[in-house]
Symmetry: C2
Subunit: 575 residues, 2 copies
């Protein structure tokens, strides 16, 4: 039962359609200045974005501007270490790893109304009329969620705010909401441009509906279609994303393009809590038509939720997204809150396109966005058949590594159940261990096990994850190759299996830093294993003052900065 | 790419269409006599079916005959403790708990050809012509899988065998295969009757296709339709089941009927390895049409695979099935093999029908089949608000319990995050603990955690499982009720949450028997918790001789035993 716009004006909820142009600033929340924080904690990721302090969840409002600056906003409680009091935090980057913390971008319009998730676009052609003399105006569209004094949920409505300074400060539109509702479960608008109009996908969360609305100007929205009850339902649909991306063949050449509709489900994921599924299909400007009946998941573990695609990546290029690297089952309880005053990081930025995977057909692959800006020293570069690699990386200040493993010339006729490649990270001080590995024989599972890490105990903090990876073999000769790429960063491990066909995001909380790596290959004769291990430079350390505090910055830009640099969106990072 | 029958005759594979009427008996496999085994081991389930010794996987050939005898066949390696050398083991029961081990029912036709999964029907009207003078003839349809001397897989074809003694002994049909193929991934036929013809669903495993074929006589099959690539793919489709079942309203009244198409996926389940998904729809005798695009899973844990529905449950009644309570990721490594000489049990028999669940819509519910025949003593019957129940059940010989918890009058406005009901089973001797519980506030997760059980360590043996259970609240007053039913049986825990809307099957392997139960409720004022705990009688102990061995039986029946007893298929077991 969809709540249509014309139901929004009944008397009980008129408060929701009062235009809100002012904002409510809790006295504890700083304005006009970034929030400072220490990024030196033993669990604090060094190449991932995390908030300076307090609680972060969904990425919001992501866009890349004409100058190549990436804007990341995020669901943010600036006054607490659990969810609540939702604002939009803000950070900017020119390489997606070095983030400058900016002042909070969106404040609630009034007490007990919170700024929930949403998106942002650059209104280059001033369709909105907000930007008479500039082509870099930004419009954010987001949910305002009202809560009554007794704590019960009021309506969730869709609203806009505009920024004339390129996304650093916003004004509320004076005739919000732009999509009204009486539902308390209607949220997470994600806007994109289709040929000659804006399109927003927005979730009727507990009705398992993604609504499609269109607009010429971001202010006036017309209902277009619903996409209802596809795939896994969980118990809510959240954070839909609609995005067109290239289809690439095995050589990387673009052979087609296709739409992806991603839906985050929470709670009720198969592994518990939060997960994201996606559907492939076509979009005609008003309707999404799935091209098959397959339910695909973005991640085989349980710490990648509500990923959002950056608006503004040029048509035809690979898309880029980042997800919230956590799970509502334990996000508000992880030990970084009490130990270090922050909770949650984003995933690494990921380059996304579609390709045909062996047997299972078309999938969205995840590649790590170009790591060059933070690539430090090559610690290992080994090629061998069967053997091991042992590395003590305790001298790497960041504690962060990039690992690439390529296995070639695998004679699949000679595979045994014990034909494996194992990689583990350990703390000699505490005995803690994070394990990962692949079984080349049998059902081809790739696994990650955080059960040997002891700094967090929670009834929902599942220990083991795995996926079945059907890797390619040569047409007739049974000779196969296989690869993995991974980043480990103090309390987060992200692994991309076999060209990124499978991705796993796993947070873990050791009591002592992991400082040793062991890799062991046990493969049929003739197989070649190539291992590259690089240390990664902290993307935060260079911003620290003598006391280790990162202050962020107040970036100001002129309203008519129009130069669009020749951007190259770097994908397929491979050393 | 479907392998059609007419492709089966090319020269390379002519061996596959040689009629096979004889069987190959490995000298180590006993014929005409049941295999004996001890059911006394500390890990051996007492109210679940498990094989007398060695390795079991999928349930096969399940039917209930006119006399009310339930026949369970199963994938069986009679000579080893891992999969291989597949036969059809056989057991019979009149109550689905007391099983009589019978002689092996189906032997391979020749060396290196194995009898894989399949189904059986009673050919009451002698459509097959095998049964000129009886109405209790049984026809089994199953996959024969050929392996070449070098270990590579040859074709999998669909074959039949008939039994003139009610399912105890079988003859191979003399013009097998009845559905030929050149594919090595084509298996698991499940036959049913539709109005005036037989229908079989069979899996083209690596093409993600369920093929529908029809036949007047079980011998001649015509391709009818394909159901292709729906829901989660994993890396293979296996063991399809097509079954019609009633749709019941909240009062239990039948308001409709609908078809369920269940598909087991392996490997590549979201939790790793094996899982079963199902689709709701209509069936017209040749084509299955899904009634929505939803992907539903039968279980929120990872130990219920390849469940099969019994043939012969009268039209309009609830269906009954049992699953294999394991997962290919670790089935061949669980410690019962080395410790007690057997591996894998089936789930408890489950009564299945469809109903509307709050918010998530129509689902297949699981109820425990009538436990009366094994119900022993009521150990606890408590009603309280907040409080605890502690029980030492070390004196229960079977180690098996039935637990029922009903919670009523929950004021949902007063729920807190810590409003919980926890139940745990422990070994005071070893400190091992199996935990389960429900959070009434927030996202309503129900969880099971086997991480505190120490007798088995495996990289794929995930510790924690959960599901989001949206339970019903009264229409306006916010007053809710909730329930769970569970069976614990030495090394298997099965739990049915909130009327069986969610089911979880969890195997666990303690080093010492679990002998204490603790239940704790922390709920808003006014809530009433009612707890019933019963000991269960071992269904195996009464068959044991003085040395503790269960010998099974050789049941013989006359060919024209026609009396159909007035059967009541007992559902909705509730004490």
């Amino acid at each position: 039962m969809v709540r249509l716009r014309d139901l929004g004006s009944i008397a009980l909820f008129t408060v929701a359609i009062t235009a809100q142009t002012s904002t409510y600033v809790n006295p504890a929340v700083p304005t006009g200045t970034p929030i400072a924080g220490s990024y030196a904690g033993a669990l604090r990721p060094q190449i991932h974005f995390s908030p300076p302090q307090n609680f972060m969840n969904d990425p919001n409002g992501m866009f890349v501007d004409a100058n190549g600056t990436w804007h990341l906003y995020y669901q943010y409680n600036p006054t607490g270490i659990v969810a609540g009091n939702q604002h939009w935090g803000h950070a900017t980057s020119t390489d997606l790893y070095h983030w400058v913390n900016q002042p909070i971008a969106l404040f609630p319009p009034e007490e007990r109304v919170y700024v929930f998730s949403g998106s942002a676009v650059v209104d280059v052609n001033n369709t909105s009329g907000f930007f008479p003399s500039q082509d870099n105006g930004v419009v954010a569209m987001f949910t305002l969620a009202r809560y009554y004094e007794n704590g019960t949920a009021g309506p969730q409505t869709q609203n806009i705010a505009y920024s004339r300074d390129g996304g650093y400060t916003f004004e509320y539109y004076d005739t919000n909401p732009v999509i009204d509702s009486i539902s308390s479960q209607f949220r997470d608008p994600k806007v994109s441009w289709y040929e000659d109009h804006w399109v927003v996908v927005v979730s009727y969360a507990q009705e398992f509906v993604v609504g499609f609305w269109t607009s010429p100007d971001l202010k006036n929205w017309t209902f277009a279609s619903n996409f209802t009850a596809h795939g896994l339902l969980g118990a809510q649909y959240e954070c839909p994303n609609l995005v067109k991306m290239p289809v690439r063949d095995a050589s990387g050449a673009v052979i087609d393009e296709k739409y992806v509709l991603a839906i985050s489900i929470q709670p009720g994921a198969p592994l518990g809590g939060s997960v994201t599924e996606y559907f492939l299909g076509d979009f005609n400007g008003t309707h999404f038509t799935p091209s098959d009946a397959i339910t695909r998941l973005t991640d085989f573990a349980k710490d990648n939720y509500a990923a959002q695609f950056f608006y503004g990546v040029p048509d035809g290029q690979n898309q880029v997204n980042m997800g919230w690297a956590s799970n509502w089952q334990y996000a508000q309880r992880v030990p970084t809150g009490n130990l270090e005053g922050w909770r949650s990081s984003m995933t690494v930025p990921r380059v996304k396109y579609l390709t045909e995977a062996p047997r299972i057909g078309m999938v969205m692959v995840d590649e790590i966005y170009d790591l060059t800006p933070i690539l430090d020293s090559r610690l290992k570069n080994s090629t061998f058949g069967n053997g091991t690699v042992a590395l003590d990386y305790s001298s790497v200040d960041s504690g962060a590594l990039y690992i690439e493993v390529n296995v070639t010339n695998i004679n699949t006729f000679d595979l045994k159940d014990y034909s494996t490649l194992n990689i583990s990270f350990a703390s000699p001080a505490s005995g803690e261990i994070l394990q990962s590995g692949f079984y080349f024989g049998g059902d081809n599972p790739f696994f990650v096990n955080r059960g040997g890490i002891k700094g967090f105990d929670n009834i929902f903090f599942t220990d083991k994850f795995s996926t079945a990876d059907v890797y390619s073999t040569g047409s007739d000769n049974g000779i196969a190759s296989w690869s993995m790429k991974a980043v480990i960063d103090r309390s987060i491990f992200e692994v991309f299996v076999d060209r990124g066909i499978h991705a796993g995001t796993v947070v873990f909380y050791p009591t002592q830093p992991l400082t040793t790596l062991n890799l062991a290959a046990q493969l049929p004769a003739g197989a070649r294993v190539s291992v590259d291990i690089w240390s990664l430079k902290s993307a935060w350390a260079e911003y620290e003052d003598e006391q280790g505090t990162v202050f962020g910055n107040v970036t100001t830009i002129s309203a008519n900065s129009t130069a669009r640099r020749s951007m190259v969106y770097k994908s397929d990072f491979s050393i």
